[in-house]
């Protein structure tokens, strides 16, 4: 078990380092950063001053290692646009994104697990097809478009929810619904296929032969086994949802990390862009590690892996 965790941890660190390299290369894609920071009206002298001030005159590898070295201790440098350190900015915005992610994931689980069970125990009926159809529809709806429709219906026509902003808990309802929709199709399908597999297994036949009630068989025996992949995928899904929340945060003007990333891209604020990519990747790496450990705890067969 410990060996498993150690190996996963090592792999995670290696992945994080690779992502750091890629994030660094990414922000150098635009060519000369000093020129894009200085703006179109800057003179050659201005550009030189900026190049010196931001340390962009140093060789690339020096810039890279100094960035990596300081990022390891949580120092991502100064933002060019906001008069604040990048770490502060992210620390301020992260709780909003995490709240949104947890609201979205909870909603997704509340909807998809019962739907998946229902479809599985009524396999091959119209109800099952209906659930499948629902997941197909959910998969095909563009999230930013769903967001706009909710704004029109819930915000304008019914007037029960605020359309944009960050102030209260109500501001998280619509974005949460939209974010949940990005995970519901996958989670529902997974619950369904897991339950179908479990219901066809020998231990369920035994339980049925013992004369246990149907509800007991479904919830006590089948669900426990079907839940293993769902739990681990849910952790991974949360990672994807946090990474994908940039679109939803932008539509709803919810000032989380994703919105910060979008603002910084628009303003060529590359230390922030680098850091946001890295933080989102690190959260994803952490969540997959967690999911591996959860898996091993839930299923003893995996502990030796």
């Amino acid at each position: 078990m410990l060996l498993l965790i150690a190996r996963r941890l090592g792999l995670g660190l290696l992945v994080a380092l690779t992502v750091m390299t890629l994030a660094f290369m990414l922000t150098r894609l635009s060519g000369d950063l000093a020129i894009s920071i200085a703006g179109p009206s800057a003179t050659q002298a201005d550009v030189e001053i900026i190049r010196k001030a931001y340390g962009l005159d140093r060789p690339l590898y020096v810039q890279f290692f100094s960035w990596v070295g300081r990022a390891m201790v949580g120092d991502f440098g100064q933002s060019y646009f906001f008069k604040d350190s990048v770490s502060n900015l992210i620390a301020k915005r992260l709780p909003i994104t995490l709240t949104l992610g947890l609201v979205g994931l909870s909603l997704a689980l509340i909807i998809s697990i019962p739907l998946g069970i229902l479809a599985a125990v009524r396999e091959n009926t119209w109800l099952d097809r209906g659930v499948t159809m629902f997941t197909m529809v959910g998969q095909a709806i563009p999230s930013f478009w769903l967001a706009l429709i909710l704004m029109i219906v819930l915000g304008l026509n019914l007037g029960i929810l605020p359309i944009s902003g960050t102030g209260t808990w109500q501001h998280f309802v619509m974005p949460g619904i939209v974010l949940a929709f990005t995970a519901i199709p996958a989670l529902t399908r997974l619950t369904r296929s897991g339950m179908i597999e479990a219901m066809a297994s020998d231990y369920i036949r035994t339980a049925r032969a013992k004369g246990l009630s149907r509800a007991r068989i479904i919830f006590k025996h089948a669900l426990r086994n079907a839940a293993i992949p769902v739990v681990s995928i849910a952790a991974v899904q949360l990672g994807f949802m946090l990474g994908g929340s940039i679109v939803i945060e932008t539509v709803f003007a919810l000032h989380g990390v994703g919105y910060l990333g979008w603002e910084s891209i628009a303003k060529n604020d590359f230390p922030v862009v680098q850091a946001v990519v890295l933080v989102l990747a690190a959260i994803y790496i952490g969540l997959t590690l967690l999911s591996d450990i959860l898996n091993a705890l839930l299923d003893p067969r995996l502990r030796t892996g």
């Binding site: 095909a140 563009p142 990333g261």
Partner: protein, 288 residues
């Protein structure tokens, strides 16, 4: 659960085939519209007519004869733009799948076939790719390098190969030591012959399912990027861009976002139905 499955089995397959057919029809119609649509629509998608702004479509009052789906905020014919947008969506979907398919299938087949160190490297690449937030990185690349159709395709292609690699690797592993592969090897076939003539044709059907999924995903992502203003540049009528441009008017004329949004939804649904149908034909529905 105690009923014999045979009673219901025809129902499933019938519905499955129906879904597949519907999907093919949807994608076919949109593809035809994308190719010849702009020859049939009497208006040009780029010609502005500021005297005729935001005219509603045919099912609403105040509609203008000749503009079947109305006009946008610059008086451009909405139907002409919608049809032109189909071309952009399909083009980006297909080009992205070709790019990402080449990368993912190459990596997956090599890793699955050779195993060992090569496979470790492929797995590491997949893990790394999965941890990269796709939308953010795609936005950053387009934001830093300037928007354009080719750049969007290249970016999405470089980001969406993971599922190709995962499926190609898993299926290659399953068949790499089957009799016909071994027989070919004993007959003296070269490694490249084994990979291209024996392995690839036998995993192609699984890869086709992945291709539909990735195409749908690429189309949705392009729309999202264009919606955020960092995808296909105006005045090209990408559906995502049309929704973004209509956003300011949506509270008064909701149809400006409904028309391109529904088009996007139907196209993606159609592609997914085709993919689902293919998967059912393969009979691997239960393995996800």
């Amino acid at each position: 659960m105690s009923e014999p499955i045979a009673i219901h089995a025809p129902l499933t397959s019938r519905v499955g085939v129906a879904g597949f057919t519907v999907g093919i029809v949807i994608v076919g119609i949109i593809a035809v519209a994308a190719i010849i649509g702009n020859q049939l629509v009497p208006h040009d998608p780029f010609t502005q007519d500021l005297g005729n702004r935001l005219k509603p479509p045919f099912w609403m009052e105040g509609t203008q004869a000749g503009h079947l789906l109305g006009t946008d905020q610059l008086g451009r014919d909405y139907l002409a733009r919608l049809v032109y947008g189909a071309r952009i969506s399909l083009l980006i979907g297909i080009m992205t799948v070709i790019t990402s398919g080449l990368i993912g299938i190459t990596l997956g087949v090599l890793g699955g076939f050779f195993g060992g160190r090569i496979d470790d490297a492929v797995l590491f690449a997949i893990t790394t790719r999965l941890s990269i937030p796709v939308v953010l990185v795609a936005l950053a690349v387009v934001g830093l390098m300037g928007s354009g159709l080719g750049l969007v395709v290249a970016t999405l292609g470089l980001l969406l190969w993971d599922r190709f690699a995962v499926v190609a690797r898993a299926t290659t592993m399953q068949i790499r030591s089957l009799d016909y592969v071994n027989a070919a090897r004993c007959a003296g076939a070269s490694t490249s012959h084994l990979l291209i003539r024996e392995i690839l044709p036998n995993i192609a059907s699984h890869l086709a399912v992945v291709a539909t999924l990735e195409m749908a995903l690429a189309i949705l992502l392009e729309a999202a990027l264009s919606f955020l203003g960092l995808g296909v540049p105006p005045p090209l009528p990408s559906w995502g861009l049309m929704i973004a441009e209509g956003k300011d008017y949506m509270f008064f004329s909701a149809w400006v976002i409904m028309v391109p949004g529904v088009a996007l939804f139907i196209l993606v649904l159609g592609i997914n139905l085709v993919g689902d149908g293919l998967r059912n034909l393969l009979g691997s529905e239960r393995s996800r």
